[in-house]
Symmetry: C2
Subunit: 218 residues, 2 copies
DNA sequence: GTTGAAGTGGAGGCTTTTTCTCCGCTTCAG
DNA sequence: CTGAAGCGGAGAAAAAGCCTCCACTTCAAC
């Protein structure tokens, strides 16, 4: 559960800074792209640039840490939605919708593809975490397929890529609260469409494997 | 209909380069942001950097030209959809859908907000073109509201911002054709939802004016 | 064809931006 | 109280990007 090789135990203030930098990085990378100046990240975290570099080797190290944390957040949200669904007797699509709204707030789908783009896709540390997160979401999708609340033509890949589109902030000077409010509204629009019509789309979307292989061999 | 003050009539090759740069700029700005190196734009156009600077004063001049052209494209698409709808006896939502698919292909909604962000919003040359384009789209939306094919709660601002989200390319190395294919699929999903349920959303979206004022005073 | 005006590419000087280290000062925790 | 741990930010070094200059090429009018 700790970093690579037993961590030497951070002092309380250092640990707090570490978290603040990570949170700031997620915001800044989402707003300004994965190449945003690290000084901006430090400033947003309310911390000196040296502190950022003390905790993270370089941009790549920071990106990797951000992705790891975001994927973990996503997995937790998916599992909590799945658990919530079996307690109440709500259907699979409701659970999926809950997860998607949560992910929007976490900005997971905005930051992960952005950051992953600059990282080694086959990284040994990243791969299992990616699998775990995707697996949890896949179970959510399967359960919605199984109880008929989500049309079979709408696949994991459809929902994932759609979520990416909905997660990225609108360009231009749109205030962040308005942006988020609109994103949730747009998601509701999509979810309502999925719910009302079992034949929304004529043909079946890509599978996860198809999406991945299209990505790796462009 | 020509540029500012009667243009001195370009030679054929120069005119061709001018168009190629404009087209390349639209693509590159959409893919890499409005701050992308102009050398990349020149390279994509198959032209030297000097040629780019000979035709456009600087980045701002190029951005402005791109926006002007994109807005003009959008207006033409909206008017053609509106005209097509009255010929056939299709409803307002179909016309709107046709327009939205066309705009996706033109990448208008991706490039315009991006570029406008770096330009003077109250620019005297831009404003009338922006009005003309928005006006044509507004007529399309109104006609869909009027014949009941589009729920009243779904506003111009909703559709515009949604189109922006759908238009931006997915980050990561997603091949362009796959990206576009998915974008059209996602749009179909949204349109199907709009069509099937007159009460998709509980409350009314922002008006155009509300969106604009939220943008200008953040 | 010839000719000269129009157009072209890209090397390179200059500026701006970003990175990342170093070191004197501050804070935590035992 | 003290020393180990942590901190901020100045600034050297590097990288990225801008845009001009000029020797060369192409177009089109005659």
């Amino acid at each position: 559960m700790s970093g690579r090789r037993d961590a030497p135990a951070l002092r309380a203030d250092a640990r707090r800074n570490h978290e603040q930098v990570l949170a700031a990085a997620r915001e800044v990378f989402v707003e300004r792209g994965p190449g945003a100046p690290l000084e901006d990240v430090a400033a947003r975290a309310g911390v000196g640039i040296a502190t950022l570099y003390r905790r993270f080797r370089d941009r790549e190290g920071l990106l990797r840490a951000v992705v790891l944390q975001a994927l973990e957040d996503s997995r937790a949200a998916a599992e909590s939605a799945l658990a919530g669904a079996s307690e109440d007797d709500s259907d699979g699509l409701s659970a999926l919708g809950e997860y998607m709204h949560a992910v929007l707030d976490l900005r997971v789908s905005a930051v992960v593809p952005l950051a992953l783009d600059r990282l080694d896709l086959d990284d040994a540390e990243l791969t299992p975490v990616r699998e775990a997160s995707a697996g949890a979401v896949e179970r959510l999708v399967e359960s919605a397929h199984a109880d008929g609340s989500l049309p079979k033509q709408v696949t994991f890949a459809d929902l994932g890529t759609l979520l990416v589109r909905l997660s990225r902030p609108l360009p231009g000077s749109v205030p962040i609260e308005l942006n988020d409010q609109l994103a949730h509204r747009h998601l509701d629009l999509v979810l309502a469409g999925l719910r009302s019509d079992p034949n929304v789309l004529a043909d079946e979307g890509l599978t996860r494997q198809e999406l991945r292989s299209a990505r790796s061999r462009p």
